[in-house]
Symmetry: C2
Subunit: 311 residues, 2 copies
């Protein structure tokens, strides 16, 4: 794997979510059964910064070379169960407007009976990210940690509608909620993003990250707002996984910094934007297969140049 | 008027465009015959920074107290013709999604025969802004200047469709084109904003400003990209004029700085964002009636805090 920073060891990040095989159609082409899932994208992105402990399930059909790829990124796979059967599959088609997509097919397969269990070696992870899965499973994972310092969570419109009570019950245990703008409106019942943020912060999380795709992201806390534009890209091939890479880059950076203060959070959000910007440049996580930490740092510096009007 | 900076005198900004009386319906309420028009919003916003020379036409029904308001902002009205008849009127209704609006009524009135003429005292203006009017009128005004150092222009989808040739003929004389993202796509024929910017820069302007409403703005030049988020606002009453205030704040700031280099342009774009953010807080230009330069500076500093991840 790529060398990480040579400073004192980073905190480790535990993540639970889906590992999938995706079939994707975008205006730039189509692919079948590529590596996908919220846990996958998060883990790869976070692995640029810190040790990652993955909790997920795959079927017996999951390609051995993809396990090798994840291991080559230094991702701990002790918590990745392999179960007889087929891996979770998702098929989607993006519109010319890449902000819109249709689900063509969804097969839960072995994911349908997933009961996440943390290996003992994971229980001291300092950071936990509850990537997009059923809120009750997110809560079950969280209860298994002994020493967690920062809890992040993502969710989607489906859970906000179908399991609102379980989600709302989880929120007081979440420090950083990471959702997109449509989800923030749905969860809050508001139409304005600032009003939505105020309501959601009242529900528990100290920090809300609102992801706005090609328009960037907003981070809200009780006494602070941070806005970051997205990196302007001409070559957008496939948006799948961008939000998970954002969260992975962010939590990886926080684990590396071992600090969750205002400055560390803002830098982490920019690293999240950087990872998301690389993710969309190829199908699935393919761009990340060759991406180096140096590439990440170079784009971080581009972000500084892109947004600087201070000096 | 408000005191401007006590530094050496700023350049002056000449602007041609519409002065109107607008009737507006937004989810927050409705108003009739409020001060409107691209030239009006631009002039008020620019007047916080530099002397403004306005070129426009109104009818004999135009309220005297609005002329007094404009004069109180230090705006030179020598080029504001008053013609027997009615002032240009526009009526519009905004959707719950404030990015969408319908034109309910449009009466050109005295604006229909507008032939802009620059008073001799305007001809040495160093900055010229061609606010949204017919491209052939924009060209006519430009030809009357003797000493112009920086030319900006705005336009709308209507002129891109109906007078494309005249608009394209104007672009090589324009240094800064300021349009919104839908207009950039329409003008370029592209679907991606980076690709659109490349094509539009090839048509003449050295700098393209792409306004994205609540998502901020992007500035493109041959070798530079700058991204600024919009100021997150909970209280958005009426988006009318925000784009014109953006351009006015930007060109006013450039006139005050008497520099058009990279740093001055970036600061000017942030001042444009600041003026646009105030504009939408009340109907028409009403928020600007009581706004002070101190208020502007305070929000500029908030913008720095909002976007800073450097230190």
């Amino acid at each position: 794997m790529q060398a990480r920073s040579s400073r004192a060891p980073a905190h480790s990040v535990c993540v639970v979510g889906s590992v999938a095989l995706d079939s994707l159609e975008t205006p730039r082409g189509s692919v079948r059964d590529v590596l996908g899932g919220s846990c996958t994208y998060f883990s790869i992105a976070a692995s640029y910064f810190a040790p990652v402990n993955m909790v997920a399930v795959v079927g017996s059909d999951f390609p051995a070379h993809e396990l090798e790829f994840l291991a080559s990124r230094g991702i701990n796979l002790d918590g990745l169960e392999t179960v007889e059967g087929k891996t979770f599959r998702w098929a989607g088609r993006y519109h010319e407007d890449l902000n819109l997509r249709d689900t063509l097919d969804l097969q839960l397969n072995v994911f349908g009976a997933f009961q996440p269990k943390l290996p003992d070696s994971y229980r001291d992870s300092e950071l936990m990210f509850l990537a997009n899965i059923q809120p009750s499973l997110q809560a079950r994972v969280l209860s298994q940690l002994r020493n967690v310092k920062l809890v992040g969570a993502d969710t989607i419109d489906h859970w906000i509608r179908a399991e609102r009570d379980a989600l709302v019950a989880l929120l007081p245990s979440v420090h950083v909620l990471s959702i997109n703008d449509a989800e923030a409106m749905l969860l809050s019942g508001e139409r304005n993003v600032v009003a939505a943020a105020r309501r959601i912060l009242d529900m528990g999380p100290a920090t809300l990250l609102v992801k706005r795709g090609e328009y960037g992201a907003l981070q809200f806390a009780a006494d602070d707002v941070f806005a970051v534009p997205a990196y302007p890209l001409e070559n957008v091939v496939d948006p799948t996984g961008a939000g998970d890479c954002f969260a992975g880059g962010m939590f990886g950076s926080l684990a590396e910094a071992k600090s969750f203060d205002r400055k560390a959070l803002r830098r982490a959000i920019v690293y999240g934007s950087v990872l998301a910007s690389f993710c969309v440049e190829d199908f699935g996580p393919n761009r990340l297969r060759t991406l180096s930490r140096d590439d990440v740092e170079r784009r971080f510096r581009h972000f500084m140049a892109l947004t600087d009007f201070h000096g």
